[in-house]
């Protein structure tokens, strides 16, 4: 199965950059066909499916996160839209992904990266 949500209103997604990989991409950025960027991290796994957090991003915010200006915890907890999406990806490829919007205030610590963990990719000055 792909790590990208399939047939949801997030759109037709493609990987932009993988930041952390462990047997599959674990932390990555993807973009919809209409140009919306998402930062994505694996939240949990179960017998039948995995859950992933999708956070929509502006390009400026993405560059800030990518260059280490914002830690991964706050990338999700202080999402620009105040919502993130919890996406269920089923191992059975015939089942479409399920998506649930979650207000960031309802996110629990055990759903998020630890505070003060940063991506630190060298980027061009904005």
């Amino acid at each position: 199965m792909s790590v990208l949500a399939k047939n949801t209103y997030l759109g037709k997604l493609e990987l932009v950059e993988v930041f952390e990989y462990y047997d599959k991409p674990i932390l990555f950025a993807c973009r919809s066909a209409s140009g919306q960027l998402y930062l994505v991290v694996q939240e949990n796994d179960y017998d039948e499916y995995e859950t992933w957090l999708y956070c929509s991003l502006s390009n400026t915010r993405f560059q800030q996160i990518r260059s280490g200006g914002i830690d991964l915890y706050n990338a999700f907890k202080l999402a620009e839209d105040d919502f993130v999406f919890l996406v269920k990806l089923f191992y059975n490829a015939d089942i479409d992904s399920e998506i649930t919007p979650i207000p960031v205030a309802q996110l629990e610590e055990n759903q998020l990266p630890k505070p003060n963990v940063f991506i630190n990719v060298v980027t061009e000055t904005l």
Binding site: M1, S2, V3, L4, L15, E17, V18, F19, E20, Y21, Y22, D23, K24, P25, I26, L27, V41, Q42, E43, N44, D45, E50, T51, L72, Y91, A93, N110, Q111, L112, P113, K114, V117, I119, N120, V121
Partner: protein, 134 residues
């Protein structure tokens, strides 16, 4: 003296492991789903889901992830809640355990991809890491 030819698992493409992969060696770390881990914790994504679509090359999907530094796998757990729920295990690999290649992630250089041959049982050389000892 006979020539030893390593036999690879059937799911790997012909040109995999790549020519620049090194014989497996040294202390490495991996995550297991439970403390009493077993062979299932050493399956690649391709072996777990033979019909799946993947976002990486077939050779990478056919290998398993390991870290050569404990800090690398701890960092992975700090990033992903799903990874945090797993157990860190460690083992010292020898050439009989296959081949490995440095495939660093953007955030840590000590990630390797490890290809395990058919007749290898590497879980026998792994043990649980007690983080209070580190």
């Amino acid at each position: 003296m006979g020539i030893f030819i390593m036999q690879w698992r059937d799911h790997l493409p012909d040109d995999c492991p790549p020519d620049d992969a090194l014989p497996a060696h040294g202390l490495v770390y991996r995550l297991a789903n439970k403390a009493n881990f077993d062979s299932k914790d050493f399956l690649s994504r391709r072996e777990e889901k033979p019909d799946g679509e993947w976002d990486v090359t077939e050779c990478i999907a056919g290998g398993v992830s390991i870290y050569t530094e404990l800090n690398g796998i701890k960092r992975l757990q700090e990033i992903s809640p799903a990874m945090r729920r797993k157990k860190i295990i460690k083992g010292t690999l020898e050439s009989k355990h296959g081949k490995m290649k440095n495939t660093p992630s953007t955030t840590h250089p000590s990630h390797f991809t490890w290809w395990i041959p058919i007749d290898s049982q590497p879980w026998k050389v792994f043990q649980l890491v007690n983080l209070s000892d580190t």
